[in-house]
Amino acid sequence: MSNPVIFKRLRGQSIVILLALVILVFSLLSPGYFTTQNFLNILLQASGLTIVATGMTFVLLTAGIDLSVGSIMFVAGVISGKLVVGGLSVWLAVPVTLVLGIILGLMNGWFVVRFKIVPFIVTLATFFAGRGLGLLISETRAVNLPDEFLQIGSARILGIPLPVIIMIMVVAVAQLVLDRTVFGRQVYAVGNSQERSVKAGINLNRVLLRVYIICGCCAALGGLVAIAQLGAVSPTFGFQSEFMAIAAAVLGGTSLFGGKGRVFPGTLVGALLIQSIQSGLVIVNADPYLYPLITGTIIFLIVLVDSQRHYRRKQMKGIST
């Protein structure tokens, strides 16, 4: 108790301890796991998911949900690929794709605020429409990307891969926005109670519109970062990514019922946790058939431990009051 602030912070972040535990177990299982190279790889491979999950966190904080992120990733990948193959410079294709993500996010948000349709249904519709659009443009074939794309994925600045730098920037900016801006506080307020936030004079529609735009833009960016490492966009790219993004945010402590959660360390750690498990399974040479079984089990156990801690703390609070 000599340093109560740090103690308090750590207690709220049991997920960090669980991440350390996962890393420890895999390190004991395989000597190749606890290496700088592998950790860089985990960061690199987690970058796409982290960016998508960061946008998702904003939406979840308002008690919304965005099922369309996987489809937006897919459309973003297909369109940017087609643009670059068609002769457009990568440096133009990237902003065009981000604008596309913003437009799709804007559409989600617009239907949510203008027509008061539940976000689940709005984004379910864009989930279908986006996937269909991507398949239409790609003619349901894999889009092979030119080398310029792979160069982005493998570029390094001061030895750190570019996707990792993008990821760190997105996470940092997102958490600063949530902590230090009026908009950030409004996001939490809306998530806690829409009714009360409107009474407090918050422009509810503007806040909701913005979180869906942020989520759409992050999904497009995350998609770009992911395909820059893959080199091709398969017709199943981004399939069920919405669930992985939500899982990363929820593992990081974000509530699906709004008002509670952080991008840093929360969502970032959640995404790293998922990727650490997946990389670990590859390194220890697990049977690929067993990947989903083991990943599912480990995430289940992590959620179990985490919820037990929350529950016990709640009970203790209940007794003391």
Partner: protein, 318 residues
């Protein structure tokens, strides 16, 4: 409970008439049977899902349950693997095994949510990963063929003039109707969805209610899987893979609130009918797979907009 008539019922009717006028081959006896065959399993799985959503939970594992039970049923019934010789006994054991498997997975989900206090979304998401992966691992992604003729012919076997899948659907609907409207459990389900804390204080067995809805969801998913397995004549580890959002979509477009406590069985029936009709009519219209997805998205959105205009009130009850 809200008393406002849910517009999804009218919407279904309007869409049905429009499709009958515009889409050649939609308003035929043949296609009507086709539509009903497609509807039944979706409907059965969706009403189970609705029970879970009424308690403010969600069951993402239903498609994995469909896959696992299809594989389990396949192993018990298929002539290639079956331990029993008599095919009618194999079918009985197979269906029983499928339902029990679905119930057990539902029990695991329910205990995790109710007793271990884990968030339903994460429990059932890991369930989706685990059991989906389990079905693939068990079969090494091979389909199971040579199912007994009795099962394969089941969709085309009639009893009192109605094919067996329709009877199955009606039976499940009837039972769920009784549970929701005539039983204590039904009252508890709505109470837990509105507010678990106050309902616990007023004597509702919250944990039991939550465990029951997940078990019922598991069992209905298994029954849906029996129909899918019979129809496709194979036990498949990827059965139902793309159905998840259709199932939850049917419930939510029917007007059931994802935040619990609000929803009626007939709304979900209409929602499932709408989703099945959508796929059926768009397929008949000869659209390509990707155009179907785009149009499906647009229609779901339009339906939701009409729904909101019809109610003239915010359905977002967060």
């Amino acid at each position: 409970m809200t008393k406002s008539p849910n517009i999804i019922l009218y919407l279904c009717l309007v869409y049905y008439l429009a499709a009958a006028l515009v889409t050649p081959g939609f308003f035929t006896v043949n296609n009507t049977w086709n539509l009903l065959y497609n509807l039944m399993p979706l409907l059965i799985v969706a009403v189970g899902q609705m029970l879970v959503i009424l308690t403010a939970g969600i069951d993402l594992s239903v498609t994995a349950i469909i896959a696992v039970t299809s594989v389990v049923g396949g192993y018990i019934m298929s002539a290639d693997y079956s331990p029993v010789d008599s095919s009618s006994l194999a079918i009985a054991l197979g269906i029983l095994g499928m339902v029990i498997t679905g119930g057990i997975i539902g029990l695991i989900n329910g205990i995790s949510v109710a007793k271990l206090k884990m968030p339903a979304f994460m429990v059932t998401l890991t369930g989706l990963m685990f059991f989906g992966g389990f079905a693939v691992w068990l079969t090494k992604s091979q389909n199971i063929y040579n199912l007994p003729a009795g099962l394969v012919d089941m969709p085309y076997t009639s009893f009192l003039g109605l094919p067996l899948p329709i009877w199955t659907g009606l039976l499940v609907l009837g039972l769920i109707y009784l549970v929701l409207n005539k039983s204590l459990l039904g009252e508890w389900i709505y109470a837990v969805g509105v507010n678990p804390k106050t309902s616990r204080i007023s004597g509702v067995n919250v944990d039991l209610t939550i465990i029951m809805v997940y078990m019922l969801s598991g069992v209905t998913a298994a029954i849906g899987s029996v129909l899918y397995t019979a129809r496709l004549e194979t036990g498949s580890p990827v059965m139902g893979q793309n159905l998840l959002l259709d199932v939850i979509g049917a419930v939510v477009i029917g007007g059931t609130s994802l935040f619990g406590g609000k929803g009626l069985l007939q709304w979900t029936v209409a929602g499932a009918f709408f989703m099945a009709m959508l796929d059926n009519s768009l397929n008949l219209a000869g659209l390509s797979y990707f155009l179907i997805m785009i149009v499906k998205g647009v229609i779901i959105l339009s339906a939701a907009m009409l729904n909101v205009w019809g109610e003239r009130k915010v359905i977002w009850s967060a």
